[in-house]
Amino acid sequence: MLGPEAVGSFARRHRYHPLEALPWLVAVAAYFAFPTYVPLGAQILATILFALSADLVLGYAGIVTLGQAAFFGAGAYTAGLLATHGWGEPITGLLAGAAVAALIGLLSGLVILRTTGLTLLMLTLVVASMLYEAVNKASWLTGGDDGLQGMEVWPIFGRFRFDLFGNTAYLYCLIVLFLCWLAVRRLVHSPFGRSLVGIRENVRRMHAIGAPVGGRRLVVYTISAALAGISGALIAQTTQFVALSFLGLDRSGTVLIMLIIGGVGRLYGAFIGVPLYMIAQDRFSTIDPVYWFFWIGLLMVLLVVFARGGVLGLAERLQSRVRSRR
């Protein structure tokens, strides 16, 4: 292979592919096509951001976590508390949610990221559980088990009121998700993002080429926490409610399932797994209100057995099979 050719193909990799417009076209089309599902759509969009934050730590840096809900909940409670205490401005609410979540990510990361593997997994769980109990105990402030009620979210930019049909909420979530996706996409294509892949692929080698592995992991953990915080704040603002379950293990686990369904470490896994899961959940729970979780479980088993790497992994294999036949 010629030098300029190889270097060029490497140097062009961060450019946009036409297929990358697809999720956004679908999101806009869905808004017009299914007006009654717009509120669910807003939830899906905000949850995609949550799954994207998990993909950054799990899929790129290889940090296995069961505590991502801690940051989601921290963002939600921050935005929620601001809105119940007389500051309902949504954008600053999002930013405050991101800041608080990032701070918790940074401080907990400083301690727990010294470990790896199973120990780290347990410690992420511990951090989330501690936060859960702290919020539960502080019921005078947070409403404890009853959740945080009485949020008053102001119109966006003082103009766009959150309406009953969820139209504003949908577009708000869509725009925030789009901006965050742009940032994450930039991040994973940067040298920093590539070094995260290096850490995931072979941490010993990363040490051996002189990379400050601990620092890199802490930075990505903090950024991921901030994104999860924005996602939580989005859901709090658009539903005007924060439940204690936002901080629960259930949520941390579910987001991983959604991500695995879509495909981990591929940036677009969240865009496929989250809608699939949440729409399936919506459908199954209508058809079979008691046993719907069974069907989700069955779907999960089938995916793990027959489609490792999730839907995107499956697509990649089909693509390479088609190519090799030519």
């Binding site: 292979m1 030098g3 190889a6 270097v7 193909s9 490497f10 140097a11 062009r12 990799r13 961060h14 930039r186 991040l187 294509h189 940067s190 040298p191 920093f192 993002g193 590539r194 070094s195 892949v197 290096g198 692929e201 072979n202 010993r204 080698r205 040490h207 051996a208 080429i209 002189g210 990379a211 400050p212 592995v213 620092g215 890199r216 930075v219």
Partner: protein, 251 residues
């Protein structure tokens, strides 16, 4: 006289009763072609781990160009030019050759932590990586994931990644291990053609390779240095023949 490029003084490490390094005094001169040999379990790889910072020693000192580095983390030692390869290939398996080398170059240039500009825009780094890949004869496969390469080629990538860090001292941990004999020639050629400002410490079981490349040989047994000297002296040493060479074909 300038200090040796790498030196250890009384380097000691033990796991319980097992001493993997016992008071090791070792000097690697500038531009040296030095081999470290010894039977399995002699502590050769542990010595590499100690020197590069993968294992903390119990006692002793490690110096690079006369400066103490015993307590420095691994990354800081790499910045001082202390670079290793792995006995069992340790590459970024899913990534292609060019990217494996580029990651190392980015770290050396201090741009590995940049957050926003796409990696593809750091063209000089990629071009430098490609030049190195080409120099080692890997250009044809530059865009192939390393886990699809023949093992001998993977060993070359291992060396390419190390060279990307512009080492002063290069510790080659069994560079030809596991490579079919037909392909080990390429690896030997590459090692022979390395610039003389890199001091090499080669750990190897393949005696052909050792006696072809090394100007000095250190023999380790059970965590201690048994003897050190030029190849002829080592080959003639009765003690060495007994513990080590005698088990194999004479060199």
């Amino acid at each position: 006289m300038s200090p040796p490029v790498l030196e250890t003084r009384g380097l000691t490490k033990s796991f319980g009763a097992l001493a993997v390094a016992n008071m090791i005094d070792f000097r690697l001169e500038r531009g040296a072609r030095h081999a470290l040999i010894g039977p399995n379990g002699a502590g050769k790889t542990s010595f590499v781990e100690l020197v590069t910072g993968g294992l903390p020693p119990n006692a002793g000192h490690i110096l690079v160009e006369g400066a103490e580095i015993t307590r420095l983390p691994q990354a800081a030692r790499v910045k001082r030019g202390l670079v290793r390869t792995f006995q069992i290939t340790a590459l970024f398996r899913g990534l292609n050759i060019l990217e494996n080398v580029t990651l190392a170059i980015c770290e050396r240039r201090g741009i590995g932590g940049r957050l926003f500009r796409p990696a593809g825009r750091y063209r000089a780094a990629i071009e430098e990586a490609f030049a190195l890949v080409e120099r080692l004869g890997l250009a044809d496969e530059a865009l192939r994931p390393v886990n699809t390469l023949a093992y001998g080629r993977q060993r070359l990538v291992e060396i390419a990644v190390a060279l990307a860090l512009t080492p002063k001292v290069l510790l080659l941990d069994e560079p030809a291990a596991g490579v079919p004999s037909g392909e080990s020639g390429t690896i030997i050629d590459v090692i022979e053609s390395l610039p003389l400002d890199i001091a090499l410490l080669i750990i190897e079981h393949d005696m052909d390779l050792v006696f072809r490349l090394a100007q000095r040989i250190t023999v380790m047994v059970q965590g201690s240095i048994l003897v050190e000297g030029p190849p002829e002296a080592i080959a003639a040493d009765p003690e060495v023949r007994r513990v080590y060479l005698g088990e194999r074909k004479p060199a």
